[in-house]
Assembly symmetry: D2
């Protein structure tokens, strides 16, 4: 049994970890910490866990976590950075669901997150946790900066297309028009996330610059080994869960002469969680809700040169807690789908 | 392995059965029928099942089902009535998620469902499938008329209160003000169930008379052995899943002197799926979404004589497909929670 | 032109007042105050008002308001209490959309609102602003404690029934099962009002005691001259606007022999905003959205003794800002529907 | 007073026309037709209109409409085509809210709508009703093919940018990623528009080809006099009303050296309904709900060459019934905002 700790269990990614781990046959929750809630049973805060999760919150100290094999950070940025070194030194593997170990460039980190990076050395060792790209590296990783939600949806949409040596698309002009449910904003009291603000309305946000932009560009470059330039526009959908990315690329001459659908199907043939739908399909976010699946479909409107790639994930599962468990499975040499076999809840 | 057949798999209760059975370690789906969709893979209609459910729809004939141990009917009323006799005769156990075998009185059935009951004899043998009340009977049952969604929520809210010999409440004046998500209306094209009709709005329906009224009164009488009279008002909530019942009863002198909270806790102490929350709690439907749980809380506002019981279920799970699987487990002597251990998906 | 001031314009009732007053042919907005936003154009906070409302927030001082004929308080409780005396003394009429001048009994006020009432004398002069009951009194009122949202829906549902000398119902046993959209919780950052908490879920709240309970009982007693006892249960609906009240009463012998539908139609025949629908109708909240209408329908299920009254309002209009404008019209001898003629926005 | 007729009043655009016309000081509704509902009061179908709209449906014949000055068609395609000639010949002006008179090329019409165009001559006289572009032409127009909902949002987003002689953008590579509420699908019973299908989910549709694509390209060419090529992807948002278009264009050298914000502000300075927000603003659909406004904001992410234009409308108002009334006002030389002054209902 893998002994698991969670730091910061009062948000949506934390409670989603609890939901998934509760049924994982090889994981045993040893500690869940929250400074503000020490002693409170987790199920008092999340009644959905009543009768099944009987642990209480403990102090966010090393002491609480020292007997774990792996610790998940489901915390705002800055927290994992401050606490990981001690854990890693003690041989405890760390998976940060936050942003502290995603951007390799500390200058970029400071620019987008507004704080200096206090652990550049640790950052150097961190594995960027997009599992479909990183599973070999994960086996030995001591520290994982799990891929963000939007970056997961966009990178998996583009991965087959940019993995070849010769460019199939204009890589300087990618557009990712992304849409997310409101749970992506977390369980934090904020006027903009109120029901009455977000319901029955739709808006773009972060158009001029969103923290996931540098992460996506870095991730695509990691996959392709080439420079990529992307316009990334996130939008807020009046739903709780789900991300849909509509990605537009301009095909190169080579791209126009390639069977892109076949390329995707072959690329993802062995991936348990990636579903390449038939060309022209229309994936819906509800078809992955509550599950770790990604569904992807390709379109080439009017037979013109623009390829449209539509991808969907559940932002709290494949975009956070599910991918974290998948990463843990890869790290501990378990089947990647262990504890992640739930089918989507639809409708 | 239990060999399972489903008749009418194109609705929400049918697809929910597929979701639950796909992970049931002792069930094997042998056939799913639909007259209109013969040959079509189930996953083409329900993309949420892609990669995991590989069966196609077959003809709704005895031939398709004859090798099953149990057949679920997820059909409009009238269908199970027409096809069950042949199955039962062949020794196949039948669970009807519809209404054909709920009301024991054929006159009442005709009055509320507008068609004569063609199988009064079969009806006489049918077990009324509210599992918490019927598990002993289920062990031998050949035919089960599964409890309806509202009736499940209301009966479980009242069961401890009416199980004693002496009445704790005025049993001629019970009010059940019930609220359901729109999936209760099924996957049937109808103007009233359109998104633009149901979203951002709230209404009562069936106030003057709803088919679940006679079922609830019959069910309460079955539990108590006494005549009960209830005012039942269903409402439509702009959400997909969930039922919340707010039940009002007037305490008798005996009732006022009874520790009702203790009574409920004791009554349900051994029930895996029933969660009696602390007095004064406020159960939310999302705390049971996607799961087979029932959560119940008691209130006695202002210390007056009116007791308010709030109960929540997922109408597609405990109110339909989940209770059907729970009933199957009881019928085949399996642990009742087998295949039903998923935690609620919340938020 | 009536010169209007608004204190506390940063919430939903404040912005709704702006929407309604902008089209009122006899009202002129002179000042809108907000301590935190002095100098900021109102339309920066509420982009829906851009191009049409050009005023900026000013200091919440007497100075800002001294040239007004009427001042609306759209503030948390306590604020109107502290500031009204000075305005009233200066001959400015005050309409409090909050709770400071609703409950006549200061002990009750303290019990439910957790603060002493600092203006018992002023309270004595205050008119309880349920316009359909109070229009004569409003003509001379200097200070109005506008009826709350739930109390408006419930009182108008019961008014015809309790206005006669002889009781038509058991007045000690009324049940009002009420449901409200989330905007009723205001524009205040709070976890419970987050989209991800409230969407796709339904719950009861305040079951054990809600501040509107004493207001409803007081209001019913004001109408009938008799003691009334009510069980009031509010619920939260995943929609922005709208209240639906399902009120259950037990008919007396006299009530059973009365044509209740005719009673309601006659009672409300001259009310512009009250729509008594045909017996058995099913009013929906969307049929009043954005408007000042109330729709009411009666049901007598199974011909038994329980009468069910369903009433709907838009909580921000008839339940707050619309009724405030209607009260202003009554106070200044204008047609009550002036500026309130918009039809509901549906769907 | 303008005497108005409506053909096909049982859908959402028809009922929205009723809502708007009921308050129009110069319009008088003379007839509303519906084959299936002859004799039924309109308010029985749309309770939101009770107490204010007292007309009943009449036969969809010339007889019913012959005394009108203008007739609106709120019908599926094919209907206006069949009935307009007779009306136009009789000197009655016609505004088709459907698609029969939008596409100038009958071959394109047949390709996208699957039926031959029976009135090519009439089509030749039809004015394409994007009011901001067509108001001069509207004054004399006998027949108007009103702009569609998506085309209105996209064309107004691009109009200032393509109105100059020299191209500011790469006009062969425009991407319009559009999102619409479900009311755009109409009030027609269809499984895909059910609440349980559309709620809590997000999807693209018509990616490979949507009828609004040729209309948008034609409209842009009409404005610019140049060939345009657009990739248009519509998406379905779980909300009732609203369209948001996110339009991506690549700036030319000239474009990069132009103050685009100033260009937009100047271009739309005199437009009552078009609101150019400050650069970098984030318009939300709820800021125009129930109103005829369009709000537009510009972004240039990372200072790169891609300009992002975000525009929002209410699809039932500016995208249909509101623009129809605005067109009528232009046709009859009334102020364009007459009867359209309602402020948005938000939240």
């Amino acid at each position: 049994m893998i002994k698991v700790g969670i730091v910061g269990g009062t948000g949506y990614t934390g409670s989603e970890l609890l939901r998934l781990l509760a049924l994982h046959p090889q994981a045993e929750l040893k500690a869940i910490t929250s400074r503000g809630e020490v002693g409170q049973p987790v199920a008092d805060m999340f009644p959905a866990l009543r009768k099944r999760v009987n642990i209480a919150f403990s102090e966010p100290t090393f002491e609480s976590l020292k007997n774990c094999d792996v610790v998940f950070f489901a915390t705002p940025h800055g927290v994992a950075m401050a606490q990981s070194a001690e854990l890693v030194k003690a041989g405890i593997r760390v998976v940060d669901l936050g942003a502290d170990f995603r951007l390799k460039n500390t200058t970029e980190f400071e620019r987008w997150y507004g704080m200096p990076h206090s652990e550049p050395e640790l950052l150097g060792q961190a594995c960027y946790g997009l599992v479909e790209s990183a599973r070999e590296e994960l086996k030995k990783a001591k520290l994982v900066g799990l891929a963000g939600c939007y970056p997961t949806a966009v990178q998996l949409a583009l991965k087959p297309l940019i993995s070849l040596t010769a460019p199939l698309i204009d890589e300087s002009n990618i557009i990712a028009d992304c849409k997310s449910g409101v749970s992506g904003a977390g369980r934090k009291a904020a006027v903009g996330s109120l029901f009455s603000e977000a319901a029955e309305s739709f808006k773009a946000y972060g158009v001029s610059g969103h923290r996931h932009l540098p992460e996506i560009e870095q991730g695509l470059e990691l996959i392709s080994g080439r420079k990529m330039q992307i316009t990334f526009t996130p939008h807020l959908v009046p739903m709780v869960r789900g991300i849909l990315a509509t990605t537009y690329v301009k095909l190169s001459e080579l791209g126009k002469n390639t069977d892109i659908q076949a390329l995707y199907e072959k690329h993802y043939a062995d991936e348990y969680f990636v579903d390449v739908m038939p060309m022209g399909s229309l994936p819906e976010t509800k078809s992955v809700r509550g599950s770790n699946f990604v569904r992807i479909a390709l379109h080439r409107p009017q037979g013109r040169d623009t390829l449209v790639i539509v991808s969907v994930i559940d932002n709290l599962v494949k975009g956070a807690a599910g991918q974290a468990v998948q990463a843990m499975n890869a790290m501990f040499d378990l089947p990647e789908n262990m504890g992640l076999e739930q089918l989507p809840v639809s409708p």
